[in-house]
């Protein structure tokens, strides 16, 4: 893996070089997918770490997002006597926007940083070089499993988030505020469309976000300067770059998928 170090000319050329390097890095990662098939167990271990371990935060946040959304909608819609529509608005807004975006932001904070810091420290403590000396390909053993794990984990986490948000909306709307249970579900099922909302909204968006966040996290880890400062800086960069990339990509995807 050879990353061309950007010259210190100015911000524009440096960020362009970053984008170019991460693009090349993505190709390297994808090329290593067949080789990393030997390390399936490592991929599963990473999936456990970035996916299963993130469930708590994703479920809690999903629940509260659904609850607060329902609370807000109820108060606005009660002005027009349209509270029965609040369930479907919660479902649509969560499936199309909030679910994938909030899950991806949480995922970047919870899993992306950990991946960057782990790989960064491996680099700082020369573990990567040690692997190369032992003829273990660090891309196939370290980078690709983490990338694939993120790619698989994000859509699943997003589904859990959305389900929890609907559950939270139901809890507040039906149990506490007294919207009719049947109206809540029938309005929701009448409007939510499997293809446009669930496949395009939940699955496709979260898959794209998962790819971007994992790529940024692994790339930042691999290119960090091997110092403690460098690792700290790379971890921060993962969160900042991921957040910007998620929100910008969300706009582009929405524009294309609508």
């Amino acid at each position: 893996m050879n990353v061309r170090l950007p010259s210190r000319e100015n911000v524009v050329t440096r960020s362009l070089a970053q984008i170019g390097n991460s693009g090349l890095f993505l190709l390297t990662l994808l090329a290593a997918v067949p080789r990393s098939m030997r390390h399936v167990r490592e991929t599963i271990r990473q999936l456990w770490f970035v996916g299963a371990m993130s469930l708590t935060i994703i479920m809690t946040c999903g629940l509260f997002v659904g609850m607060v959304l329902m609370l807000q909608l109820y108060h606005v819609l009660s002005i027009f006597g349209g509270t029965s529509a609040s369930g479907m608005v919660v479902a649509l807004s969560v499936y199309r926007e909030l679910g994938p975006v909030v899950t991806a932001l949480l995922f970047a904070g919870r899993a992306g940083t950990a991946v960057t810091a782990e790989i960064g420290l491996m680099r700082a403590t020369d573990q990567i070089s040690a692997m190369e000396m032992m003829a273990v390909d660090p891309i196939a053993y370290v980078a690709t499993p983490r990338f694939l794990a993120g790619l698989i984990a994000m859509p699943l986490l997003c589904c859990v988030f959305c389900a929890m948000a609907v559950f939270g909306g139901h809890l507040v709307g039906v149990t506490w505020l007294g919207i009719d249970n049947g109206t809540f579900w029938s309005n929701m099922t009448a409007v939510v469309d499997v293809r446009t909302d669930i496949v395009n909204g939940v699955l496709l968006k979260s898959l794209a976000f998962g790819a971007v966040v994992s790529l940024i996290a692994v790339f930042q880890g691999f290119t960090t300067p091997p110092t403690s400062e460098g690792v700290a800086y790379a971890t921060t960069r993962t969160v900042v770059a991921s957040s910007i990339a998620i929100l910008a990509l969300d706009f582009v995807l929405t524009a294309f998928l609508m």
Partner: protein
């Protein structure tokens, strides 16, 4: 040696199962599988003079049960009726030829759908065939004006293609509002100004060049989409052989109905009827 690894594997397996369970929950509990068209279907052609708010993929119902969906809505240049293609489940292929297709609204503010009422003919409509008998949506204004027996006020107009039209009252019509014929958008409102001499609203409509066969005695009316929707200009085609040209005048206009006026009239009429009854 494999003990810790197996615990990872179990945890990961649980996570994946949970994720897919959540996906299945979203797909089956919160969305209707019936929203996705499934199975074989065949198409029927219908024509409506006004489709209102009907959209593609709106349901087609027989006896209130969903049997298909609206495949496409088009307005051919030069025609004043909207062509609506219905895609209906192959199961329901015994629709009599003289059945009536009607555009209904679910509730007062709900979405619109196409309802098919069976006729009595022996012959069945074939794939790609057409239902000749249709009933269009009734814009609320038309229904109300029929109900109250009060039509719009007819007044004079002048204009260009960019056609100009004068209304005594445009309601909340704004620049950029759609101009519709048979419920399909064919242009937009270019400007709305008060005429300082005639003391009415002068509206300039910009109409797509494709629709150049609109009779010059057509009427322009300000309608509202739904009960609380935004307002638009509807063109109701006349019967003149001559078409509207750039710079032509639309003679007949119907102003926006104001709900307050109508309710006021209704109340006044109601009390007016009651008074003599009370005096007797």
């Amino acid at each position: 040696m494999s003990q810790p690894r197996n615990s990872y594997a179990v945890g990961t397996g649980l996570f994946i199962v949970l994720g897919f369970a959540a996906l299945a929950y979203l797909a089956t509990q919160t969305s209707s599988v019936a929203n996705v068209r499934q199975g074989d279907s065949y198409t029927l052609q219908t024509q409506f003079t006004n489709i209102g708010q009907l959209k593609e993929r709106a349901p087609v119902k027989i006896a209130g049960v969903r049997v298909g969906q609206v495949q496409s809505i088009t307005l051919k240049p030069g025609h004043d009726v909207a062509d609506v293609t219905l895609s209906i489940d192959r199961q329901y292929d015994h629709i009599p030829q003289d059945s009536v297709a009607t555009i209904f609204t679910s509730g007062l503010l709900g979405d619109q759908y196409v309802g098919i009422e069976y006729g009595s003919a022996k012959q069945v409509v074939a794939d790609g065939g057409s239902l000749a008998r249709t009933r269009s949506t009734q814009p609320l204004e038309q229904m109300l004006s029929k109900f109250f027996g009060a039509g719009g006020v007819v007044d004079n107009v002048g204009g260009s293609y960019t056609v100009k039209a004068n209304f005594t009252n445009v309601g909340t019509l704004s620049v950029g509002a759609p101009v519709k014929m048979a419920g399909v958008v064919i242009g937009s409102v270019q400007s709305v100004r008060a005429d300082p001499v005639q003391l009415n609203a002068s509206v300039v409509l910009s109409i797509d060049k494709r629709y150049n066969a609109i009779p010059d005695d057509s009427a322009a009316a300000v309608f509202t989409s739904g009960l609380i929707g935004s307002q638009y200009v509807a063109i109701q085609p006349g019967g003149s052989p001559d078409a509207l040209k750039d710079g032509d005048e639309m003679v007949l206009t119907q102003s926006a109905m104001q709900l307050e006026d109508l309710i006021g009239k209704f109340l006044v009429n109601g009390s007016g009827d009651k008074k003599p009854a009370g005096e007797k």
